[in-house]
Amino acid sequence: MAGTVIPFGPQHPVLPEPLHLNLKIEDEIVISATPAFGYVHRGLEKLADIRDFRQMIQVVERVCGICSMIHALTYCQGLESLMGVEPPPRARFLRVIWSELHRLHSHLLWLGLFADAMGFESLFMQLWKVRERIMDMNEATAGNRVILSVNVIGGVRRDLDPGQTGWILSELAEVEKGIKAMGRTILHDYTVQKRTRGKGVLSREQALELGCVGPMLRSCGVAQDMRLLGYAAYGELDFAPVVERDGDCYARCRVRFAELGQSIDLIRQSIGKLPAGDISVPVKGRPEGEIVARAEQPRGECLYYIKANGGKFLDRLRIRTPTFANIPALTVMLPGIELADVPVVLLSIDPCVSCTER
């Protein structure tokens, strides 16, 4: 029997953003999957032609709402390396605090959407209720819930006073309580396991060959995390990548859930070690040369290539986002599964179309 081609997306209840898959199916089993996108591409890299290198901080923050702070951080760190600028120690620790707040709210957002995709609406609402505390922390410390705009070349533009750090610690205790309460459901519920175990499996070798990054790669037994590069203040903090071995949707869920606790721990460590001093250094001059900068976003490795000629405008800015690296894995994960499992497997890569369509 010849296969039937089913268009999945770009508008689909499980997709918050437009992504299209051409699914060839036979008897409800997926035979092949071909991804397509381009529905909301913005050409942000091209804006480097008409926005100077400082203005581009505001542009790269808008590549993605969920990890905006880490986009700006990666870009600023690349320029700082090019210009020989060393941000002050306090700024480096503050960058970790906001980065991990971003990871927390991104993972909680994903866990909620994942629960919703499985039809678990009450879990979705409870997870997003906890996430609101993180958004409140973002707003109270940076003035914005989503686009934090805290990074500048040479440091950060906002500081935390002792009252704020104390409040963050008390809020994190509540967040931790909420996460623990839901861990029993997320990790042990029969329905969740039935929908996720053994679905969309990737082996360690496949994940490496397909260029997977972040929780996708770590759920296949590869302990790779760009934070181990030691950028910002990560080199002075104690942590190890969260690794699972099964490579299925459940393993990806476990990695992200465990990373919630890791992020809380990293924020506590950063506040405990937060040094006194300036939050930025004055920066003069213009960048010249080329550099590759990397950072660990909630979805994985983000890469910025920056080429500058000493002028106001960059010669080239290239952004490789983590979802762009994880999409090819769908061509291997989807064949062989039932059509009804496609939404769950697709969502398990935590697709960010906004990043992909930068």
């Binding site: 032609d49 090019l82 490496l208 260029g211 760009m226 590069l229 405008f313 960059l314 010669d315 999409i327």
Partner: protein, 121 residues
């Protein structure tokens, strides 16, 4: 400051990429640095245990060998470069024929040519 990258010719690309795969490198991405009527410059990025290595390829025309046969995941970025820079990857599968981002009527590669504010519309 410049990136330390091995300079290779078009004919050596697949062999060099296969050698990196043999060493256990993960394919990260390709950056097309420049493409104009004089040719194109591409950087291939690979990672091994958090250490990056790069290949710098300069081609005189618009045709570049595809590395999809070695790293299947390269199909996405090669299709993107075809759309944005107007290059053509030989052996690319699946080949979206420059419709990954562009529509049929938008045929001019938007990133091709000189960069900067003087480029004009």
């Amino acid at each position: 400051m410049t990136i330390t990258a091995d300079r290779i010719e078009s004919g050596e690309l697949c062999r060099a990429v296969a050698a990196l795969k043999e060493q256990g490198c993960r394919f990260v991405t390709i950056t097309c640095v420049r493409a104009d009527s004089a040719g194109a410059e591409l950087l291939y990025h690979f990672d091994r245990e958090l250490s990056l290595s790069h290949l710098r390829l300069t081609v005189s025309g618009d045709e570049v060998p595809s590395i999809c046969g070695i790293y299947a995941s390269a199909f996405l970025v090669e299709n993107e470069i075809q759309d944005q820079f107007g290059l053509r990857f030989i052996g690319l599968t699946p080949d979206y024929q420059r419709t990954l981002y562009l529509q049929g009527e938008d045929s001019a590669p938007p990133f091709r040519g000189p960069s900067g504010p003087d480029r004009g519309e």
